[in-house]
């Protein structure tokens, strides 16, 4: 496996120009969608099958009556332990040699299990193709020595592309500096590879709690439930089976004696 690539989105540098959103649409040939009224400048409200990069416009009323904007360019996290990838029954969702998560459109069969298995609500179902779609980390570009279109287009280097270990080191310096400058809630989201779905390959520097940006505090791998739920199902099966055996048992007769069904 090649060295893991990553995208680091530092929201303290984002100016909300949406160049990333547009560059993504252009490079990936994603058609436009009808705009929707979200109550803020944000469009669209959520990721769709045609919107892989999305600038969130978070309005925070201040004590002095003014409005503060947190601008956060969101994207698929390319989790090291990816719920969508584990859920995929066809193997269409795979991990590239760079650590990114991609959907092989030809292999996807449209079961939509990945859609509900993403802890971030990223994967979307494309009704035109009948298949799931999401950010590809510009798979074609990174295999040709280019960074993702969004990172390339970002005019403030709010979105940075590079080797994960180098970006994490950079991000840690940046968050320390912001704290020094008085941003008390500044934090990294997904940089820690021990406690965050194995680490997010698209990680963020946030200025507030994750919930502010529609992110879960502690994303969990959906498949963690399979083992316990299966055991409890077995328990239920044993009880049902015993009940049926008690009901059908022939008293005073040997098992299966004399049946000529």
């Amino acid at each position: 496996m090649a060295r893991t690539l990553a995208m680091f989105t530092d929201i303290s540098l984002c100016i909300g120009c949406r160049a990333c959103q547009v560059a993504c649409k252009q490079w990936n040939e994603l058609p436009m969608e009808d705009p929707e009224w979200t109550g803020t400048y944000q469009n669209h409200a959520h990721f769709t099958d045609k919107t892989y990069r999305l600038v969130r416009f978070v309005e925070k009323p201040q004590a002095d009556g003014r409005l503060q904007w947190d601008l956060m360019s969101d994207v698929c996290k390319h989790c090291a332990q990816a719920g969508c990838l584990e859920a995929c029954p066809t193997g269409a969702i795979y991990r590239t040699e760079y650590g990114t998560v991609n959907i092989n459109q030809d292999a996807c069969n449209g079961c939509r299990y990945c859609v509900s298995s993403c802890p971030f609500g990223v994967v979307a179902f494309n009704h035109d193709t009948g298949r799931a779609s999401k950010c590809t980390f510009c798979n074609d570009r990174i295999h040709n020595g280019l960074g993702p279109a969004c990172a390339k287009a970002c005019p403030t280097e709010s979105i940075q592309f590079g080797f994960r270990d180098e970006l994490v080191a950079k991000a840690e310096k940046r968050v320390a500096k912001l704290k020094e400058m008085g941003y008390k809630e500044a934090r990294l989201y997904g940089a820690d590879s021990n406690d965050f779905l194995g680490g997010l390959n698209a990680f963020f520097l946030l200025l507030d709690k994750p919930g502010t940006y529609n992110l879960p505090d502690k994303p969990k791998l959906p498949q963690r439930n399979v083992f316990v739920d299966s055991l409890l199902s077995v328990g239920s099966a044993v009880l049902v089976g015993l009940g049926a055996i008690v009901a059908f048992r022939e008293r005073g007769q040997g098992k299966g004696g004399g049946d000529n069904a």
Binding site: V226, L232, S236
Partner: protein
């Protein structure tokens, strides 16, 4: 913001019919292995009910993909930890056991009956799986309502058992076989399953806590409380204790149990999907 998979009525029907198929099969298999000569009709009905149902299940799953041939894509992969992958395989495996049991039930030779019993013991495991894995599948998602309580699979299994047994009971009534002792046995097994289902449902709701909101309040609440809990579980249990002598009442209670099983799948799936 989490996304729902847009599973519609085809999947609701699949979950419902898969439960009945699994339930009726393992009921027949248990009657086959532990019952006596008088259970012959239960055994046959159970096996023969599961076969068309599992066929319909397969058709529903394939049709839901939009482009039917794409179901083949699932057959290049086997992920034992992934309910969607292993489930797709097990529909086929269960279908095979169901088919074998049906064919073997045509013969009454000693050797065939012995073989059928052995086959059905293994098939019972597939039946249990088919009835419960859909619940585990829902709980292995990121959506809190589906994934917060650990009993979805156990609940689906108990419901699959109660609906499978109710279906056999109803078929016995319709085919005029409702006189014998076998009918009483099916009803008794069904009663145990319903009691278990009620208990699991109560614990399930307790574990879900506030995450149960989509079904215990709002527009799906009347269907859940009235259709499933009262009409689908409590009333049939009461009828079972009070009026078990009147055949039509027992048939009615079987219909209520079946409707309740359908409502269970319907509210769990549809309440959080637009």
């Amino acid at each position: 913001m989490l996304k729902t998979p847009d599973w519609g009525m085809m999947i609701v029907f699949y979950f419902f019919l898969g439960g009945i198929a699994g339930g009726s099969y393992f009921t027949a298999a248990i009657a086959d292995n532990f019952g006596g000569p008088r259970d012959r009709q239960v055994i046959r009905l159970g096996y023969w009910l599961s076969l068309p149902l599992v066929l319909i299940c397969g058709i529903l799953l394939i049709a839901d993909l939009g482009v039917p041939a794409r179901f083949l894509n699932m057959l290049f992969t086997f992920k034992f930890w992934d309910p969607m992958s292993i489930g797709a395989w097990m529909v086929g495996v269960f279908g095979l056991f169901s088919f074998l049991s049906c064919v073997l039930s045509l013969s009454s030779s000693e050797a065939m009956v012995t073989l059928r019993r052995k086959v059905s013991l293994v098939g019972t495991l597939a039946g249990f799986f088919l009835a419960s894995y859909t619940g585990v599948l829902l709980s292995a998602t990121a959506l809190p309502f589906w994934s917060e309580a650990r009993l979805m699979g156990a609940l689906f299994l108990a419901s699959g058992a109660s609906t499978g047994m109710a279906a056999i009971s109803l078929l016995l009534f319709l085919s005029g076989g409702s006189t014998g002792e076998a009918w009483g046995k099916v009803k008794r097994a069904d009663r145990y399953s319903m009691i278990l289902e009620l208990v699991i449902l109560a614990v399930f709701l307790g574990l879900l806590g506030s995450a149960a909101a989509p079904i215990i309040q709002g527009q799906f609440a009347p269907l859940f409380w009235g259709g499933l809990v009262v009409a689908g579980l409590v009333v049939p249990l009461v009828l079972d204790f009070v009026g078990s002598k009147a055949k039509t009442l027992v048939a009615l209670s079987a219909i209520l149990v079946l409707a309740g099983g359908f409502i269970l799948r319907y509210v769990l799936l549809m309440s959080i999907q637009a």
